[in-house]
Subunit: 207 residues, 2 copies
């Protein structure tokens, strides 16, 4: 049985478009079913294609995952950087705003959190050093450190911890609370993150 023009009236979409669709579908499907739990065919189907498209655009399933890391983790880095963009408020208010923003972002992207967690696992399992995931992670940490330094300087307060450690703390707290919130949303108030951040930088605030 010859094919009957599977998708639409025989239009051939640009290659870059196919690649993007596959990458987006991979993010969604892998997040929901797990990387091992989802087949290459599942990803392709979710994007409206077949396995052939995947193997034409990516060499293997592992390559697809690698491309996904490159793509999504870079995007995450940008999101993280945007979240620490400055305002002219007090340090405590900025801390609270940042916490709220990150908490909201985590809520809105539960799928991505799940995928993120799995990529993290894979990075750890396959020898932490050298992976793209680890590299991007380090970039993010460096950028956060810089931003923390800048805001502390501008506020003119003595940091309770070295800036690099504050950055680590910030990221760890973000991940830890997101994890906690996924499994028990009621146990983590919306503003907890912000209040803790304000507390750490020495501005308990007036509630």
């Amino acid at each position: 049985m010859p094919p009957v023009s599977t998708v639409g009236p025989g239009r051939r979409p640009p290659r870059e478009e196919v690649r993007r669709a596959l990458l987006d579908a991979a993010a969604q499907v892998f997040a929901r079913q797990g990387v091992d739990g989802a087949s290459v065919g599942d990803v392709a189907a979710a994007a409206g294609f077949t396995k052939g498209a995947v193997y034409s655009n990516f060499g293997s399933k592992d390559d697809l995952v690698a491309a996904l890391v490159e793509d999504k983790v870079s995007a995450y880095l940008e999101l993280g950087l945007a979240a620490v963009s400055d305002t002219d408020a007090s340090l405590g208010d900025k801390a609270r705003a940042l916490g709220d923003r990150l908490t909201r972002a985590a809520d809105e992207q539960r799928d991505w959190q799940l995928l993120f967690l799995e990529l993290w696992q894979r990075a750890v399992r396959s020898g932490a050093t050298g992976g793209a995931f680890v590299d991007r992670r380090r970039e993010l940490h460096a950028a956060v450190t810089d931003a923390v330094t800048a805001h502390l300087d501008r506020a003119g307060v003595a940091p309770p911890l070295p800036a690099a450690e504050l950055a680590t703390l910030l990221m760890a707290l973000s991940n830890g609370l997101a994890l906690e919130r996924q499994i028990d949303p009621a146990g983590v108030p919306d503003d907890l993150f912000g209040r803790v951040l304000a507390l750490v930088v020495g501005d308990p605030g007036a509630s």
Copy 2:
């Protein structure tokens, strides 16, 4: 070809012993290869048995995973509770000691951390409510809340956050920092956790 007494000189180990060996092997193999990445045969072989033993002691692979959750998460709960056992030191010193202890525990059990992360993922994916993992988690949280309350009372200081939120914070920080430490050990000093805890409870300490 009749079997030639596969394991040793035909001794038959007690059932409970086999079950334990399989459970321990499952923890190790699943942690290293992932639950999906490891086959039932892999687990059995690691324990010195074959698939038959697994299906005799557990109904299915899922049941094996469930038993593992029950077994290991309970053990984790006990470890967590032991870690908050009291001393007569100052609140700040206690916080630092707790942080160091949890950090050390995380270092010594990287395999378990990995497995823990995967079980967490599975719990979230299969509808967070009702799973044994979530239940144990809640138990732990309640116990930590109680312990926090007790220590704050004894020290006679006003808590900077409600005890329940402090417990959430403690657990989130523990997981977040462990995560961070797995992927970049150098970026998370040994005593960071302790210092942050001391800071949060209002005792920056000397040094």
